[in-house]
Symmetry: C2
Subunit: 195 residues, 2 copies
């Protein structure tokens, strides 16, 4: 079985998005460097530092499935049917959107909660890793003891308000540093969850 990891960009004050889902400020680093990197599964081309590009090269091929929340799915307009990294995506929701419930859909809608979604994604990914991108889903996976590693792309900005990456946790959780990588306009931090 692969690992379950969280990865997303976060402001220095701990927000993954502004109060109205704004991500411009914290995603700025994706276009702040010189190395062009096509983002798998999309038409987007990132322009990042060599250090960030090297990290992408190392990480992206290990991802076999993703789990995220309905809010991110809606805000992104289902990525036009092309989920990030081009991997099969498990969306936690109580109301599956019927237009995406079909045989060849890249989305599986999970109505019985985060634990079930992560388990289904692990099954699907096999030896590869499952990536969680939503803060809310990450928190629930962490509480359920399902999260193995946390990767934060730290953006040099204070948003002041918005959606917090870490919220509604209750007990202290110990971590072990995996790496610190300085990119352009971003610091990549990786931690292992100690259980």
């Amino acid at each position: 079985m692969g690992k379950v990891i969280f990865n997303n960009s976060v402001s220095l004050d701990g927000f993954v998005a502004g109060p109205n889902d704004e991500v411009d400020e914290i995603f700025k680093w994706y276009w702040s460097g010189d190395v062009e990197v096509p983002f798998p599964g999309s038409e987007m081309v990132f322009k990042v530092s060599p250090a960030s590009a090297a990290l992408f090269d190392k990480t992206w091929p290990t991802i076999g499935a993703s789990v995220l929340g309905r809010r991110m799915f809606d805000v992104s307009h289902a990525w036009g049917g092309k989920p990030p990294l081009g991997v099969h995506t498990f969306v936690v929701t109580h109301r599956p959107p019927q237009e995406w419930v079909k045989e060849e859909s890249p989305f599986t809608f999970v109505t019985d909660g985060v634990v079930s979604a992560v388990q289904q994604a692990k099954q699907y990914a096999g030896a590869k890793d499952v990536v969680i991108s939503s803060a809310n889903i990450m928190q629930q996976a962490l509480k359920a003891g399902l999260l193995d590693e946390i990767y934060m792309d730290l953006a040099p900005v204070l948003l002041g308000k918005g959606i917090r990456l870490f919220d509604r946790l209750t007990e202290p959780i110990e971590l072990e540093p995996i790496h610190v990588i300085e990119g352009k306009g971003v610091t990549h931090l990786g931690f292992r969850v100690v259980r």
Copy 2:
């Protein structure tokens, strides 16, 4: 004039202390390495990594005064009269504790707010820097446009609850990375406030 900087340890989820001012988890790194470093102005001897020790050597001599809040002053029992780094310390409070109001006191109590405390500390420090250690004071200095740099010693732990470093800010504030230094049990991050 020197700069006004914030420096303190913070958990990965952004807390400078637990709900009852606990700092054991986030200060653990001060005793996690092999290099013994006496903490100026105290009897304490830290044991840190060579990288952290080198950062201390570079930073500590530049500090000429400190500003902090009454809560930190009380929780620390006035450091037995020996404030951190052995520098003169400006304490923001509405009720100066009379036992420390005396000629040779290492403390100055400022009753007319954070802006006044920072200005008095700058005056006192001259060409040296002023360090702010309290989250609440830092937020007010940041809002007032008085903060030049933010140094966070990031501890690999999720506290879940406590006193947030960044709270009650309202507008986005842009930062510029200064350095990223990997110590043992800690990641030292430095940012310049862009104004």
